[in-house]
């Protein structure tokens, strides 16, 4: 029997929700029926799935899902919710019964089969009821009142607040506008809690507790999201060619991937850069990408990290990764660099060769993304994914100007706003075919010069601020003079 579920999401990274869910659904090949069309303005999805296993699979991966509820009743008003629930107790058809108006949507007169409720009523099952509200706060007393209103349910087991056999959930949705909260909720739901999403992982992987971090270490939630976007699964081989402190590898390894990383920064990979943490004077001895994996007990998934320049070839021909997950430098907080020198006919003498640190030149974003997409087109298994961030100035964003490659199809594109003017987009490409010709195909590395624009923009706002300040000073001086004149 297909069951109906309410998937309740965390209200953040809204632009990533659909992309993450789609990735997980297609990773496990899960058939989903939408009972109500998902809306970004609602923190939930109402879906039907063939069995509980499927909802558990989704929850085993998603970092945006808070929890999944087996839906028993939904309505637009409190009285209707209770009426539905009472009628459901008499619904012995074994399926959901649609209301008189017979609409196929999540109309508020749907009745769940009574078996769902009866399965929880045995005297052996201890239970509790949780009340959750979205965009409104209730005191404990009010919550208890809400719980009391379900007294007609034939629950015979004892109440147990700590780890009961069954947790029932009552949820009220008051819209997504905290400045305009209505008196009564828009939607109400009641059902049985099934499983939580992976929100706890965000704390577990938190950068605050990570041994080795750098200036641009990716936040735990986004790293996990990226691993989901890349559809990383057990036994996959994953590469991050701009690995840094290895945040992305940590989350890929969490989902069972074997990981390789490379970076041009020798000092970073050897854990000898200046510490990024406030108050820390020196890097500890065990600070390394490997040390991070050890911290999360995934060291067995660590393959290697290599010091190398991404603009040059490194891997053997024909070798293919299952996923490439990366956050290239944007040229602002981390420089975009490759080995090189502006001078012609530059030669190094023998005596300088030992411990020589090579000079670097600018590695333009356009060139970098072109190389990255070409690399993915040759070194990715067909059907697998490249997931990377792309920084841009918000007002100049045009989808058709994003980096593109004929062998890669852009399957997801989610925006994370960084400031009023800038954002970065998480781009997910799926390799749709192998380039059989062996020729380099037309690659578009995008046309955005983020660094230049970022600093030009900064200049402008700095100047504006200065001008505004001097205007204010002048106005104040005038006012003072006028006040003085009035007094005398």
């Amino acid at each position: 029997m297909w069951r109906r579920y309410l998937m309740w999401f965390a209200h953040e990274h809204l632009d990533f929700r659909h992309a993450e869910m789609q990735s997980i659904i297609s990773l496990f090949n899960i058939p989903v029926k939408f009972i109500e069309q998902p809306s970004i303005r609602k923190p939930y999805w109402i879906v039907e799935l063939p069995s509980e296993d499927y909802v558990k699979k989704i929850a085993s991966r998603s970092v945006l899902v808070k929890n999944c509820i087996e839906l028993w009743s939904t309505a637009k008003t409190e009285s209707q919710l209770h009426a539905n629930l009472k009628n459901s107790l008499k619904n012995s058809t074994g399926t959901w019964v649609t209301g008189e108006n017979g609409q196929g949507d999540a109309s508020d007169t749907h009745l769940c089969p009574k078996e769902l409720i009866e399965a929880c009523c045995s005297p052996k099952n201890s239970f509790k009821i949780e009340v959750e509200t979205f965009c409104k706060h209730y005191t404990l007393k009010e919550k208890v009142q809400k719980i009391e209103s379900f007294e007609y349910l034939p629950l015979e087991g004892p109440v147990k607040l700590n780890k009961p056999d069954i947790t029932l959930a009552y949820l009220e949705f008051y819209g997504d506008d905290p400045n305009n909260v209505p008196e009564q909720p828009y939607d109400l739901f009641f059902g049985k809690w099934i499983v939580d999403g992976q929100r706890d992982l965000i704390q577990y992987h938190s950068l605050k507790k990570r041994h080795f971090i750098g200036n641009t270490s990716m936040d735990a939630q986004l790293s996990l999201l990226m691993a989901n976007q890349a559809q990383v699964k057990t036994g996959d081989i994953v590469l991050d060619p701009f690995v840094g402190s290895g945040s992305l590898l940590v989350s890929a390894a969490h989902f069972g991937a074997y990981v390789w990383g490379s970076d041009i920064d020798f000092m970073m990979l050897h854990g000898r850069t200046r510490p990024s943490r406030v108050g820390q004077k020196m890097r500890a001895k065990e600070e390394s990408v490997r040390g991070n994996m050890r911290q999360y007990k995934t060291e067995s998934s660590y393959l290697d990290v290599l010091v190398s320049d991404f603009s040059l070839p490194l891997w053997k021909q024909g070798f293919k990764f299952d996923a490439i997950i990366t956050d290239p430098p944007y040229g602002v907080r981390e420089p975009t660099e490759k080995i090189g020198i502006e001078r012609d006919n530059y030669k190094l003498s023998e005596q300088h060769l030992v411990n020589h640190i090579p000079a670097k030149v600018e590695y333009g974003l356009q060139q970098l993304y072109g190389d990255l997409l070409n690399f993915a087109a040759t070194h990715l298994e067909v059907g697998r994914r490249l997931v990377c961030w792309y920084p841009l100035v918000r007002e100049e964003y045009q989808e058709d100007q994003l980096p593109s490659h004929p062998c890669l199809s852009l399957v997801a594109n989610s925006e994370q706003v960084l400031s009023k003017l800038t954002a970065r987009r998480l781009l997910t490409y799926e390799k749709v075919r192998d380039d059989g010709t062996g020729q380099t195909l037309e690659t578009n590395g995008g046309s955005h010069n983020f660094r230049e624009k970022y600093f030009a923009m900064g200049e402008m706002t700095r100047r504006e601020r200065k001008e505004r300040k001097s205007e204010e000073m002048a106005a104040y001086a005038l006012y003072k003079m006028a006040a003085k004149r009035d007094v005398t």
Partner: protein, 125 residues
């Protein structure tokens, strides 16, 4: 550096080098660390390996014992082989040493287990 990494690496970054494969290993310090055995992963990795290169590399650093020179079919059922491979690919690590390009003789140092494949600015001109 593990031997699985060595099996995938080239020195193609050098100008004039066509394949740059396989790199010769010159190890001065080798470490063996225990890693969880995952037969599915090893089975999946085998088709991606250049067997001869692996065999030669393992022998060159003295850890080739028990590794057959050619790969027999139905390897996925041979647990002894998978275990041996697991050890050679994932547990044996070159801590200090060099990798040498087979065409140009250019050496890439390995320090603290991390190969440094960077060229100098003079080499990329």
């Amino acid at each position: 550096m593990k031997l699985i990494t060595h099996n995938m690496l080239t020195s193609k970054c050098l100008k004039g080098v066509m394949t740059g494969y396989p790199l010769a290993i010159n190890a001065t310090d080798i470490k063996v660390t225990e890693v969880d055995f995952n037969p599915e992963f090893i089975t999946r990795v085998i088709p991606k390996l250049d067997w001869e290169v692996l065999w030669a590399a393992a022998n060159s650093i003295g850890h080739g014992e028990g590794l057959p020179k050619t790969l027999e079919p139905k390897y996925e059922e041979n647990e002894d082989l998978l275990k041996k491979l697991h050890r050679v690919l994932l547990e044996v690590e070159v801590e200090e040493g060099n990798l040498t390009c087979p065409e140009s003789g250019r050496q890439f140092p390995i320090s603290k287990g991390i190969p440094n494949m960077l060229l100098t600015e003079a080499e990329v001109q």
